[in-house]
Point group: C2
Chain length 261, copies 2
């Protein structure tokens, strides 16, 4: 779940798509790579001061993935982050092959899950690069705003660099429109721009030549902002609201595309 | 204009408060310290490839503030950023007293302006620290969301560190509520939390003991998101809309507080 722009819906989407996929029967692992640690708030869990987190996984060679995994819901596990993860951005560069640490550490547990979703911080630094090195697909949450388009090019450049260096399989498969205001012309114009952009590269050999705007857009819905204050996913908090319906529908589309569970 | 959280309204507020203050007769300078360079989009200007920017100001000892200043509107000047500014975050640490570079470089031009507003990137790194070293006041744009409260503590810690090291005068004077959805209980609850937080410290010797929620909140208004796509401030684009009225009203409140122009 990648976008270097802040506040676009990465964490809200990680938590709620994860929960929807688990409800559909997938075994889901969520990995929080954001030092802000908001994913814990959506799940109502908090690692204790001695519980190992993604920080330990990245920086302590002894720490194993299974030490960091906590159960959040039925079929929904999570690896949490902590504020020290911010230091990892600068401590990691000292280590060789530092982008593959997460990939190596999660290899042993990958077969335990149908879906692994990684919540990235709003940057294209070492934490995000670790996520890209281990991922099969990138989903880009974004607002249908003019300024949001500006950052997409740089995001795609980074993905391209990763495909040329540490992960040739990486694809950008979806744009997830968040906080969508369907009644505005701006939203429609931005979506038109996005669609034109990706249609134009269908025949090119780029990692985003099969990228589509995921349907439906996730409408702006205050319930999605309220749920984390109760430590709940939208399906715990307000399962009939538009926010829940939209994330449910996107999860169904993803399952269709993946041909599973 | 400070908040390490992304997408909260820093740039929209810098551009539109700046424009409102200039309309009131203030001589205003806007400084864009965000490598994303969105401030240029709100002002309809773009530095050419050879024009010196905030990057040169910070990293080229020869570059003077006056070389970087461009006129944006009547009484409204700007120092623009560029994507290379992202490198400054890591190149700066090599320089001694690196947090005071912007302060030293702008000393000669400060008397030419009544108000200088610095648009910070979504981080508490070297660029933001340079802004804090030269500022008199901090305004914190934020959404009235639960997750937005989480970051405020860390922001205040950073301000306190700065007051103890490079800028004893620095104060946090205002919370600027952006993208405000007045009809939601969440917004009201968050504002209650914020007010209680700052009321509780009125008698303490902290740099935010006089911090208030600025009035009025800036309501969510699609016109504010549309304006930069036309290279316009809200006062160029839709001077009668709620977005323009709200920023106008906040600018008036600030002028009252400052006793000017
Ligand atoms: N569809 C929506 N409707 C209303 N509010 C939303 C919606 N999606 C997210 N929000 C709220 O918007 C804010 C930003 O969302 P979120 O934290 O998911 O973004 P993010 O991209 O993870 O941010 P960051 O870059 O800081 O990690 C949060 O307060 C969240 O509750
Ligand atoms: N009151 C508002 N109503 C509607 N949209 C808004 C409002 N204020 C800002 N926006 C839009 O929300 C998005 C984020 O705003 P903005 O760019 O000002 O935030 P920022 O804090 O500067 O972000 P960053 O951290 O990336 O620099 C932009 O697309 C902007 O046009
Ligand atoms: Mg997040
Ligand atoms: Mg900005």
């Amino acid at each position: 779940m990648l976008n270097q722009k802040g506040g676009v819906g990465k964490t809200t989407s990680t938590a709620n798509l994860g929960a929807a996929l688990a409800d559909s029967g997938c075994r889901v692992l969520l990995i929080d790579l954001d030092p802000q640690g908001h994913l814990t708030l959506h799940l109502g869990l908090a690692p204790g001061p001695d519980d190992p987190t993604a920080y330990d996984l990245l920086l302590d060679p002894q720490c194993q993935a299974r030490d960091t995994i906590m159960k959040a819901r039925d079929r929904l596990d999570a690896i949490f982050s902590e504020v020290d993860l911010a230091i990892a951005e600068s401590e990691l560069p000292a280590v060789q092959d530092r982008q593959r640490i997460l990939q190596r550490k999660t290899e042993s547990i990958r077969d335990q899950y149908d879906v692994i979703i990684i919540d990235c911080p709003p940057s294209l630094g070492q934490l995000t690069l670790n996520a890209l090195a281990m991922a099969d697909e990138v989903i880009v949450p974004m607002q249908a705003h003019f300024l949001a388009l500006q950052g997409v090019g740089r995001l795609l450049e980074t993905v391209e660099l990763i495909t040329q260096s540490v992960n040739a399989q990486l694809r950008v498969t979806g744009i997830l429109l968040c906080m969508y205001e369907s009644q505005t012309t701006l939203a429609r114009e931005v979506v038109t721009d996005i669609n034109e952009y990706f249609e134009a590269v269908r025949d090119q050999a780029v990692p985003w030549n099969q990228c589509h705007v995921l349907q439906p857009p996730i409408r702006r819905n205050i319930k999605l902002a309220e749920a984390p204050s109760f430590g709940q996913t939208i399906f715990d908090y307000a399962p009939q609201c538009n926010g829940a319906r939209d994330y449910r529908a996107v999860a169904d589309q993803l399952l269709k595309a993946w041909g599973g569970p």
